[in-house]
């Protein structure tokens, strides 16, 4: 089925000639997942019944206390400065965004009355603006009405250069946000853009309390520590790094919500004991970011008080091969983009290395339920998933490839060519899971005559932007490195930047950019530029699939597994969690069954 036929089918649905359900059934029969099929319809603005999670309680409050445990406690409660996930989660009971992403990566309205689309006129045809209609009758916790002025103010607050807010990242490409009327705003973009949804995911703060504290004075606002938002819970008390407490907002704008009378977010400790407090003793209802080995979790779950929830994310654990030469200096710097790696410049070596990553063993013996297979670099949401890439694990094939390319085994079993031995340094951060993956790869490489030297670096060093330190992931002064690439939000544009030529990490840019492997190709660059201005979502997704295939086929970046968002939840709690947004982004729908 080609693009044209697909479009005709979609048109049929829009015009009512084909039932929505039949369209999805037909797509499923063709091997397309339900989310993708729905996304296709959403993209061309076929009215989609919002997939509201079932919510049973019939009155506000009465749910008792909700106890949450973050093993890193929130340290501040102003969303514009909430650099860490812990702080963003801590803000969420009090502050809300215009919209949030559900577990399939589909945008759901929160403070917005509806999600803009072509059909409702929200998305301008020229891609230069998006119009958001806000919910009426939403009030801040102090009784003031929430209006378009607040939305405009948040953009001004975040982008004030003197403020140093981290949230400016949400507003890149936004030229201005203007008020149309009290409950309508228009977001204007610098140039036509397909990514119109980024700014709707920032939690909004009230203008009347923060307008006196713009820019350099941002730190002085008393409400930095006493949030007044629109959220389902009202602020009670806060001790940075230790405890956030809230109580039900009985004037919340959604019916029968919130369910819990009080909430508490406790911080500190470690992930394992946090899981224990939910799964074994039941002292807490929810614990976040439980990156604990799966067999340990299974033992704890036998306690019967709680369950583990695994939600798919778009974050792949990746092995990267250095395209440049990390061992000698060119123009005064190691791994200069102009240099070539002695082994990886040979496509046979890259291909052979790709064949030596035993993904199945990694999933079965290391990650368990904590990850899912990742054949692609860009795996989801469904519309971006390429079906063309099918990685395999095959030591014999790797051996044959290397042999044919002239890499002959020496007396010690290690292959060499032109006097260069295939001895490679493989670095990653210190983390028991990563070290096990390293060991699995090393073992397979040994069978193929590749000697691997493992190197581990303290995470705070590895991921730092310290220009003076040689061991950072940006400098990549090693042959191979591995880490988890987090990708907030569903749109892959920034994620795919890590293979474009203008993002190559070099001394001149302080090794701060995204392309760590130093691999690039004019064709990839061109496709990326095309995707930046492609306003048709279907065509744009096709461009991203092309980019994924190019990056995968280059052999320089090897996806290992797709990490899940791991949460421990009390058995009695019903919570719509998502791997595409904050765990607490759907807090208004949580209840105790």
């Amino acid at each position: 089925m080609n693009e044209q036929m697909l479009r005709e089918l979609v048109d049929d649905v829009r015009d009512g000639r084909l039932a929505r359900r039949d369209f999805i059934a037909r797509m499923v029969a063709l091997g397309v997942g339900v989310p993708l099929a729905s996304a296709m319809l959403a993209d061309v603005a076929v009215a989609q019944p919002a997939v509201e999670p079932p919510y049973k309680p019939t009155r506000r409050g009465g749910g008792g206390a909700l106890r949450m445990l973050l093993w890193q406690g929130p340290t501040l409660l102003n969303p514009h400065f909430a650099t860490g996930t812990k702080d963003q989660e801590g803000c969420r009971p009090f502050y809300e965004s215009l919209a949030r992403y559900d577990e399939n990566g589909v945008l759901m309205p929160v403070l917005a009355a509806e999600i803009p689309s072509r059909a409702n006129g929200g998305i301008a045809a020229d891609g230069l603006s998006t119009t958001w209609k806000l919910k009426k009758d939403v009030k801040w916790h102090d009784g003031q009405p929430f209006t378009a002025d607040d939305v405009v103010f948040n953009w001004q607050y975040a982008t004030d250069p003197a403020g140093g807010a981290f949230s400016t990242g949400f507003y890149t490409n936004v030229k201005s946000i203007e008020k149309i009327d009290a409950t309508t705003v228009r977001v204007n973009f610098v140039k036509p853009t397909p990514i119109w949804d980024r700014s709707c995911n920032i939690w909004l703060i009230p203008k009347h309390l923060f307008s006196a504290y713009m820019g350099a004075k941002s730190r002085e606002a008393p409400n930095n520590l006493k949030p007044v938002g629109t959220g389902p819970y009202k602020f009670v008390s806060f001790t940075p790094g230790d405890l956030v407490r809230g109580e039900a907002n009985m004037a919340y704008y959604l019916p029968n919500r919130p369910h819990f009378d009080t909430i508490e977010i406790k911080g500190g400790g470690d992930a394992t004991s946090a899981a224990r407090a939910v799964l074994q003793t039941g002292e807490f209802d929810y614990a976040w970011g439980i990156l604990v080995e799966d067999n340990v979790l299974k033992q704890m779950e036998a306690g019967g008080k709680g369950k583990m929830v695994f939600k798919p994310t778009g974050n792949p654990e990746m092995i990267m091969l250095n395209a440049a030469d990390p061992w000698s200096e060119v123009d005064g710097e190691r791994a200069n983009v102009k240099s070539r790696h002695f082994a990886f410049s040979d496509p046979a070596v890259r291909k052979a290395f790709g064949l030596l990553v035993d993904r199945k063993s990694v999933l079965d013996f290391v990650y368990g339920r904590l990850a899912t297979p990742a054949p692609n670099l860009l795996n989801n949401p469904a519309q971006f998933n390429s079906k063309a890439i099918t990685p395999e694990f095959n030591v014999d094939k790797a051996n044959a490839l290397l042999e044919a390319a002239g890499w002959k085994r020496g007396a010690d079993g290690v292959r060499a060519k032109d006097g260069k031995r295939l001895k490679l340094v493989y670095q990653t951060s210190i983390n028991s899971v990563r070290q096990k993956v390293q060991a699995i790869v090393k073992q397979a490489c040994a069978k193929a005559g590749i000697e691997i030297e493992l190197k581990t670096v303290q995470a705070s060093v590895f991921f730092s932007s310290d220009v003076a330190n040689p061991d950072t992931y940006g400098k990549f002064f090693a042959d191979i490195e591995m880490y988890l690439n987090t990708r907030a939000g569903t749109d892959p544009d920034r994620f795919m930047q890590q293979w474009v030529s203008w993002e190559v990490c070099q001394k001149a840019n302080g090794w701060q950019l995204q392309n760590k492997t130093r691999w690039s190709s004019p064709e990839f660059d061109k496709t990326f530029r095309a995707a930046e201005v492609e306003l048709d979502p279907v065509k744009r997704a096709a461009l991203f699939i092309q980019m994924n295939d190019m990056a995968c086929n280059s052999g320089y970046s090897i996806p290992v597994a797709l990490r899940a968002q791991v949460t421990a939840l009390s058995k009695s709690i019903v919570a719509p969690l998502t791997g595409w947004d904050l765990d607490l982004s759907g807090l208004h729908d949580w209840y105790r069954a």
Binding site: A65, L69, Q72, T75, L76, F81, T83, G84, T85, P161, G164, F166, T168, G169, T172, R219, N224, L225, S237, T239, P240, G241, L243, R245, E264, K266, G267, G268, G269, D270, S273, R276, A277, Q280, T281, E283, F284, G303, Q458, A459, S460, V461, F463, S464, S465, D466, Y473, Y483, L484, N485, T486, R487, A488, G489, R494, F495, Q497, Q512, L513, Q514
Partner: protein
């Protein structure tokens, strides 16, 4: 004595300066970045991270950052945390009550065990009581707190389900129930710390008492026909406690510093956990603030210990 105190306080100024320079230099040399978490997030452009660093002055030379900190400190401005953007003094004061309450109680428990047990062991050395007490003491200070802490959690929280293992600074209940709750959640951490400290001190008290009990004045007191209880409390213990008092006085700054490991295990919001969080996140102002208070306390309590020495033992004079 007044001149002695003044001289010691004057000497403290250069020491504090030196300590602060060393600390600042070590923190500046240590690798890491308070915004490391943003690094792997591809949704945060690097210029945003760079802007954050610049706005906090992290890109300035170390010397100018230190001078900036020192001048502000002399004006009583301790700076604010890079991470929570809250004043350092506020952060420290929030943690003081829990720290003093919990660690203080555990030190009292340690003393309440160490003095009687140590004295009884020394009065009848190599008796059954002494042997048992010595064995337990040896085990007590050999087992690290992270081990005993987790052991207690496994037994009393997970198997028996008697005590909570997550410490809450504000308990929901009110009145008597709140007191009971506070006591319940404090039992395990206080025991872990108190028994560890008590075990060490017991050995110390025992040897101090053993030293004194063989002296001539004790024999004289016994030969006068004084009751054994009076001999031990009035003539032995008073003399034996002089070194113990010094030891306890020198231990006092630790009460403020909290117990990093124990606080981490039981999630106690004390100074120790504040410090370790700040270190892990490269939050220089908080690390400097806490360690500065700590060094002041060490210097002050050293002085206090010296003064106490003189008060307890008139033979020592100050010049």
């Amino acid at each position: 004595m007044g001149a002695f105190i003044l001289r010691r306080l004057a000497l403290a100024v250069p020491s504090l300066l030196g300590i602060s320079i060393v600390l600042f230099a070590v923190l500046a040399l240590a690798p890491g970045d308070p915004f490391a978490e943003l690094a792997t997030n591809s949704n945060v452009p690097p210029e945003v991270r760079e802007h954050l660093r610049a706005s906090l002055g992290l890109n300035d030379p170390v010397a100018s950052r230190y001078l900036h900190w020192l001048v502000a400190m002399l004006h009583g401005d301790w700076g604010f945390s890079f991470i929570s953007r809250v004043d350092v003094t506020t952060l420290i004061w929030q943690r003081v009550p829990v720290t003093l309450g919990l660690i203080g109680t555990s030190q009292l428990l340690a003393l309440a065990i160490a003095i009687p047990v140590g004295t009884l062991s020394a009065v009848k050395p190599y008796s059954w009581f002494d042997r048992i007490a010595s064995t337990i003491a040896l085990a007590g200070f050999s087992l690290p707190t992270f081990f005993t802490g987790i052991l207690l959690i496994l037994v009393f929280s997970i198997k028996l389900d008697w005590l909570p293992f997550v410490y809450r600074s504000d308990v929901e209940a009110t009145g008597w129930r709140a007191v009971v709750e506070h006591v319940r959640q404090a039992i395990m951490p206080v025991c872990v710390l108190g028994l560890f400290q008590g075990a060490g001190w017991t050995r110390y008290v025992r040897s101090a008492v053993l030293d004194v009990i063989r002296l001539d004045h004790v024999t004289t007191a016994r030969s006068k026909g004084l009751a054994e209880r009076v001999v031990v409390t009035r003539h032995v213990l008073r003399n034996a406690l002089i070194p113990v008092v010094t030891l306890v006085a020198l231990q006092m700054p630790t009460v403020f510093g909290g117990a990093i490991v124990t606080e981490q295990i039981f999630r106690i919001p004390g100074i120790g956990s504040l410090l370790i969080d700040a270190i892990l996140r490269n939050d220089t102002p908080v690390i400097m603030g806490v360690t500065f208070v700590f060094s002041v306390l060490v210097i002050v309590f050293n002085l206090v210990a010296d003064l106490l020495y003189g008060l307890l033992d008139p033979r020592i004079a100050y010049r």
